[in-house]
Every structure is written in C-alpha cells, then in structure tokens.
Subunit: 318 residues, 2 copies
C-alpha cells in the first residue's frame, strides 16, 4: 500500500478556504461530542528555535503535525515556520500520506478564527480589524470573507511595507491602512502579532466587538490589555494550551485573570452546550492557540480530495 505525498504546491492546489472552514467547524463539533482524541503538544526546545509534535485523532483519521518555529530563519531566506504532517489510518496505523502542513497551519488558523466569529461576532459585522499584517493576515481575511459578506478591512502593522504587501496581494478586498486604534475599533478584531506586551487598549474596543486573539502562542506572549478579558466573554480553543501559552497566559501568571473566568471552549459553543453571542453589547474574545484536531481535519479533507483526483505521487514508504 503506497503513501501519498502532498508537497506544499500540491496542498496549495487542493486547499479551499470554504472547505477548510467546514472541516474545522466539524472538528470542533466532534470535539464537543467527545469524539476527538488530542494529547498535549510536546515541545522540543533547541538553541535557535523549537519543534512541536501535535498528535490527534478524529473519527476516521489520525496523525501528527511536526512544526518548527525558528525566528531567525527569514534572515537565511527560509520561513520561520515549516510543518510536515503524517496522516494515518487510525484502525491500522498505516501512514496514508505525508504532506506539507505549512499551508494547512495558515488556513486552519484563519478558519478557526472565522468559525469563532460565526458564533461569537455580531451577525451584521462589516469591518475586520487586522492587527499585524504578516503571513496570518491573509488567511484571516480569506476565512472571514467566506462567512461575512461585504466586509472591509482595517489593517495595521508596525511595518508599512507589510500592510502595502497585504493590500497588493489581496486586490479583491477593500483593505485600508490605518492606525492601530482604528483597526481595534472594528466589528471583528484579529490580533496576529508576536507581542509580549498588551498593544491593544481597552478604550479602543467598542461594545459588541468580537476579538480573535491569535498571536499569543507561547508563555509570555500577550496582545490585549487584561481589562478587555475581565469584561469579555472569553472562549478558548483548548483550556490547557490557552492557560499555558495563549492570550490569557500572562494575566493568569500575574494573578489578574483566572481559568474560572473562562466562559468555555469553542467546541462547547459549536456543539451548543454553551451559547454563542446573546446580545449586541457584550465583548467576546476567542483565545486561539491552534490545536491538532484542526490540522488533522484539514489533512483528512486534502487526503480524500487528492485520492479522488488520483494525480498526486505516492511511494512505498514503510
């Protein structure tokens, strides 16, 4: 039995944001129904970067994503983050596919935020604030555009070049370069920076805003003033990961926020065990750290598409 090989180009050809959103929402639903299996991420920390092993299983699929974060890579002409995913038959363990997961990571992160916005943002949301116009900004915009029609984007970055590049790369969207306080005053705000101090002020956030806090993914990282969390309904993707390395990790460590204040998980919201947005005034926050079931769900989608087309290479790997 051969193992399918999907490199980054193949993944780019196969991947569609609308399908990724459906797959990620379904993964959250299965998680909420107790049908997922996801041990904690394991970190391998080295001198110049780290690696994370992210295993997970959902009905009909299993696998592991192995992803690095090497901040010095861009100076060497390499991406900071590269990921490979081994996709297995859960019933036999057979490695059905080895695929690039760099694109998967970007797409599923955008999709997870858009799914959170679907349940937590106001239905009539029209403006998206992008804070941090790097790699993640593209998929946040693509994903939200699938679920919110006629959106316009307020984009801020400390680098003017990054915003210019974003505007040029997505000519089909209305993207306006603006100061951070204007981006933060949007209906839906996506924070996508590697910040280690709260760059988004409470006073900029309007009543009824939904915030996707995506940037914080390691201990010490933080983008929002803790007073935002204190007044918001906070939904996390994973309680343990969010508490340890998500947006809430620093406030928890500082004792200004407790895990008891977390409203619930996105899985609980999607499955209906916890209500989503109930009024137009409350501020909601989705603390997204990125979880392995998102990756595995998208891997399943791509594997099955690739199998149907029959035009991708495979090898007798094991």
């Amino acid at each position: 039995m051969p193992t399918l090989l999907l490199n980054r180009l193949a993944v780019k050809n196969l991947i569609r944001m609308s399908e990724v959103i459906t797959a990620v929402e379904e993964a959250f639903r299965m998680c909420g129904q107790g049908k997922s299996n996801m041990p904690s991420k394991t970190y391998l920390s080295l001198e110049r970067g780290d690696f994370r092993a992210m295993p997970a299983a959902l009905p009909g699929c299993a696998g592991v994503k192995w992803v690095n974060v090497h901040p010095g890579n861009p100076s060497l002409g390499l991406p900071s983050i590269m990921a490979v995913l081994i996709y297995n038959d859960p019933d036999t363990g057979y490695p059905l596919a080895v695929m690039d997961a760099t694109e998967i990571t970007a797409y599923r992160t955008g999709a997870a935020a858009a799914v959170a916005s679907k349940y937590l943002a106001r239905r009539n949301s029209r403006t998206i604030g992008i804070i941090g116009a790097g790699f993640q900004a593209y998929t946040q915009i693509l994903a939200h555009a699938e679920l919110f029609s006629g959106i316009s984007v307020n984009a801020y970055d400390i680098s003017q070049t990054a915003v210019d590049k974003l505007v040029r790369s997505l000519p089909q969207f209305s993207i306006r370069n603006c100061p951070i306080e204007e981006a933060a005053a949007s209906d839906i705000v996506c924070t996508l920076t590697p910040s280690r101090s709260p760059i988004v002020k409470r006073k900029w956030i309007m009543p009824g805003t939904h915030i996707n806090a995506v940037g914080a993914d390691a201990p010490g990282k933080q983008e929002l003033e803790p007073s935002i969390l204190k007044q918001a309904i906070v939904v996390v993707d994973d309680l343990k990961q969010a508490s340890g390395s998500g947006e809430i990790n620093v406030p928890i460590r500082q004792g200004v926020y407790t895990t008891g204040e977390i409203y619930g998980t996105i899985a609980e919201v999607v499955v209906g065990r916890k209500k989503g947005r109930t009024d137009d005034k409350v501020i909601t926050v989705f603390d997204s750290t990125g979880i392995a079931i998102e990756d595995i769900a998208v891997a399943k989608l791509l594997f099955e598409k690739a199998q149907r087309t029959g035009s991708y290479p495979s090898i007798d790997l094991v």
Copy 2:
C-alpha cells in the same frame, strides 16, 4: 531545498548493524554528557492500537519518530508496528528527510541491547539466550554477533514455527531450539516477548548473567521474576519510561521494587560516570524501553550516507 525520501527498501539498503551500534553508543555518550534533548513520548491511544510521538535532538540533528502499535494488524496482512521519521536541521527546522523508521526501530533496539551487553555482560560471554523468536530476535542476534565473537544462540518461543523461521533466516549463526530454562541459562539473555507475567524464573539465571529485558514497553508488561531485579544491578535506558512502562513498571506498582534501587542509566555507564560490570558473579539487567535519541542518531547516520551516495529521491516538500 529538497527533502530526501528514504523508504523501507532504501533504509534496508543503507543500514549496517555495525554502524548502528556505533551511532547508538555515541548517542548514549552524548546523553551522558548532557548534549541530548528528549521530551517524554506522547501517546495517542485509539480503539485498535496506539501511536507514539518520539521527538529528540542530538548535536547536529533533530526530529520525531511517529510509530504505531496495532496488535490486530497481522490478521490483515500488515505489520503491527510501522514507523515514519521526520529528520530536521536543528538550526533552521528544515525537514531534511522523511524516512521509514520500521527498520530503524528494529536495528536500534538490537544495537541498544548489544551496547548494554558490551558494558554489562561478561567479556567472555559465548551464549545468547533468545526468549521470544519474533521480529526483535533477528536484530538482537545481529547486534550481539558484532560485539561478541563466536556466539551460539539458545532460542525459545511458544511457537515452534517462529524458532524454525529464525533458524532458517539466519543460517550464518549457530541457533539451537531449546526450552525456556535453557535459553535463560545463557551468558547473555534477551527477553523479547509481549508477556504480562514473569515467564523467566530466578532459579534459571546463572551467576554472572546479563539480561536485556526488551519486551516490556507498556504498563502491565513484565517478563522477569521480580527477585531477579532485587538481586541484580539494574540499568535503564530512561528512568521515567522504564519506571512507567519498562520491565520494572509492574514490580514498582506492586511495591516490590523502587526506583531508588535502579543502579543508573546506560548513558551514565557509557560515559563512565557509573561503572559497568565489576565482577563475574553479579547479575546485570538492562531495562530497554527504546528511546528517541537512538532513532535520531540512526536517522542522522542514514541521512548522511544517503546524501553521500546521491542516488535517493527527494521532493520539494515544504
């Protein structure tokens, strides 16, 4: 930059037991010198089997082995254990190779036991007792033959067919089919069964014997009567793994053995911080659970060999 693909056939072509032994011994030495990095294995447990993510780094290399154990596979014509290894540049995270690790697992397990025998068995050991003549038996014999000249093998299995197959498959070695008590009365004894009760009796073990206890690799598994451990010098590959899932796990749980009785790790012995065998009478036990630095060390060896030959395929994976 391309990613090298080494399938099982390529690994079979490239792998040499003598080189694997050198690589594994060097990995233990680097571990003893504090130069290795190895987080705990992560388990993903499913209905019909489980997967283990085994990340590790040594100087100049990093990676993860993703290996399944599905006991029902043979009835489907598939191996119970299949493994894939992603091999990375530790300085950039780039995935340099994706390789089959099924052969690597078998070879490094044999090599680790042989390295333990080098330091712990009597130098004049001439007989190897094989208890359990399955897949692992082959590499135990190959590895010990590299370090002990003129050995003869006493092989036992509950299945006569398994022993017959072993004898036929390794015609270059003197292998005698015998009862378990005779296999256990060898100079070096390798226990390689999935037993969940002590099948090797204390009374069968001669003074001066070295035992490689390899079979126990999960909670509840056990091959040796605990009285053997109580009277032996016990060396483990990894304190945490051995205590939780190695030969000593059941006696520890039963309260008849404590981690305080462990003599040390094989890394401490190889690096000289703990002495190996000091007299001809003591019984020594190596509790081998299989550790990720063994796999990564062998992956580095194979990657570098494959690169030198230049005749293996590669793809632009990420």
